[in-house]
């Protein structure tokens, strides 16, 4: 089942009072997110990630295109009772305590009073804030606010959860805890849509990833698909490496780098790998190992953006 979909979604902001200068935030953006997945949207600042979430939540209106959540076309007020949202840089009224924040937003989501009350303590325990739930939020640290924000996003037991930089300001232990919570939520069948700059974290938990730049969708796929494309192989050998090999290898027009006992090759396909191995064998080089080196999501992301700039 498709939890989130957008079709040719575009957004142009018009800034300025008199001379309204158009700023394109999103162009022809089409995407589908399956239910029960952790889906991450990656992109540099200003890529259009938050704009996309805002349009899904009807905080901003598309210039053209359409979107749907859980099969309901947007804008749709009712569907928001099935959604949880943790915005970036969220702020709560300082005079409220953590549990009062949950009570307020739980009631605004339409959750009955008794249900809200019964969910506050388990949620605060889940995010590690139970002992501070009666403290005013103005005294909370950034990390504590993020934790309460996550609890707030879950107070209505949503089916789809949008999280914009959920680990912003959270320490490494806290990040791990949040990752574990997200994995638990996924196991409960919830769909999680994540915006994050922390690619190492995204890589650890995401089922699928989309990369966005300057309002355009560059690529979508699983983390595996994105990190194995253009794979790098390291081939161990017993030196020496004959000069004739180097001459013939250069003719293959493949990016190769040489170390005393290791040959590193950036390859696009297994055929390329076999051609290199055949060549090594032809020159009587004894191989000791062949290791496929995956790029990290960050490397893949940066390579993709670099390619986009050069193209």
């Amino acid at each position: 089942m498709i939890a989130i979909s957008s079709t040719s979604l575009s957004k142009v902001y018009r800034n300025g009072l008199l001379n309204k200068k158009p700023v394109t935030a999103l162009t022809d953006f089409s995407l589908e997110v399956e239910s029960g997945q952790i889906f991450s949207l990656l992109g540099p600042n200003g890529a259009g990630k938050t704009t996309f979430i805002k349009m899904l939540l009807s905080l901003a209106f598309p210039t053209s295109g359409s979107a749907a959540i859980l099969g309901e076309q947007l804008p749709n007020v009712r569907i928001r009772s099935r959604i949880g949202y943790l915005p970036e840089n969220h702020r709560y009224p300082g005079y409220l305590t953590g549990e009062q924040v949950l009570r307020l937003f739980g009631r605004l989501t339409g959750v009955p009073h008794a249900a809200v009350e019964s969910r506050i303590t388990p949620l605060m325990q889940m995010v590690g804030m139970d002992q501070w739930k009666r403290m005013k939020v103005k005294k909370y640290s950034k990390g504590m606010l993020q934790r309460v924000g996550l609890a707030q996003a879950l107070i209505n037991e949503p089916e789809v959860i949008f999280l914009d930089e959920p680990t912003d300001g959270v320490d490494p232990i806290g990040r791990k805890e949040i990752r574990d919570i997200l994995k638990d939520l996924k196991n409960q069948g919830k769909t999680i849509f994540l915006n994050s700059h922390l690619l190492s974290e995204v890589e650890l938990i995401s089922d699928r990833v989309a990369i966005l730049d300057k309002g355009k969708l560059l690529k979508t796929g699983t983390v595996d698909e994105l990190t194995t494309e253009g794979s790098r192989f390291q081939i161990g050998f017993i030196p020496p490496l004959p000069d004739a090999f180097r001459v013939e290898a250069a003719a293959l027009v493949l990016p190769l780098s040489y170390e005393p006992e290791v040959l590193t090759a950036e390859l696009r396909s297994t055929q390329d790998l076999n051609r290199i191995i055949d060549l090594l064998r032809k020159h009587g080089v004894e191989l000791t190992s062949i290791t496929r080196q995956r790029s990290t999501l960050e490397e893949s992301f940066l390579n993709l953006l670099k390619r986009e700039v050069t193209s």
Partner: protein
């Protein structure tokens, strides 16, 4: 129910503002002065009003006493209304702009709440804070005067609700300014301009604006503007008339209700298509 949650939350937000406690403090001071300073003394010729032991009126018959008390209540109600506009505006001008700030509006609007509901909940919450202040002062004054002088004016008690209604009409303009500008400073300046310049000039148009031109079209425009905006001064005059047990004209209330409704609908329409 969601609107009620917003109203209750906004009430609490308003109560957290120090400005309102200043108004409540001034009200309390006046109430203490009346409670300890005001009394009546029955003489052979009638009842004398006393302030801190000094006679402030000649001996009055019971009907004259009721009139004198009503005059005092009407004067205090006028003062209260001024305080409500002044302190109420400072205390509540920020309620809507703050709710529309980045980081907060995202939270509200990601919930199943229509934008007009958010605006209505916030506006009614602001009005409810002022209603509580007005009820406190009028109710306590009614009780003190009733106990001390035996005058139990229901008109004075009812004026509390009408004063809150006047503030609600005024707040429709505050709402529109808040939605359009999302800036507390602009809201306060704009609301005061309306209160003391535009509203006052339109209310006294026969003594000022009419004199600028003899053209009938000009006068029609001025009259039109008068009826477009809530008639705050007109309603206050009628509240005074009600307390003084004089004939009360309800037309300013009906017209203000209609114009406030239109202004509020305009604010909701502006908010409806705003990108956050």
């Amino acid at each position: 129910m969601k609107i009620l949650t917003l109203v209750a939350h906004t009430f609490r937000e308003g109560v957290a503002k120090a400005t309102l406690w200043v108004l409540a403090g001034i009200s309390t001071l006046i109430l203490i002065l009346v409670a300890f300073g005001f009394s009546t003394e029955t003489t052979a010729n009638g009842i004398v009003l006393m302030l801190f032991g000094n006679a402030t009126s000649p001996p009055l018959e019971s009907s004259q006493l009721a009139q004198a008390i009503a005059t005092m209540q009407a004067t205090l109600a006028r003062g209260l209304m001024g305080g409500v506009f002044l302190f109420g505006l400072f205390a509540t001008a920020g309620i809507i702009p703050e709710a529309l700030e980045k980081g907060i509006v995202d939270l509200y609007l990601s919930k199943p709440i229509a934008r007009w509901e958010l605006l209505a909940g916030k506006s009614l919450g602001a009005v409810s804070v002022m209603l509580a202040n007005i009820l406190y002062f009028v109710g306590a004054l009614w009780l003190v005067v009733g106990l001390k002088a035996g005058v139990w004016s229901l008109q004075f008690l009812a004026s509390a609700l009408l004063m809150a209604f006047v503030f609600a009409c005024f707040y429709s303009i505050v709402s529109l300014l808040a939605v359009v500008s999302r800036n507390i400073g602009i809201v306060i300046i704009g609301a005061f301009l309306y209160l003391f310049v535009v509203g006052a000039a339109l209310e006294t148009r026969a003594l000022g604006l009419y004199l600028l031109s003899g053209s009938a079209a000009y006068r029609t425009v001025i009259d039109g503007l008068y009826y477009i905006f809530p008639q705050l001064a007109g309603m206050q005059n009628q509240i005074t008339a009600l307390i003084l047990d004089q004939e009360t004209d309800w037309i300013p209330f009906v017209q203000s209700l209609a114009s406030s409704g239109v202004i509020f609908a305009g604010a909701a329409a502006v908010l409806h298509r705003k990108d956050f």
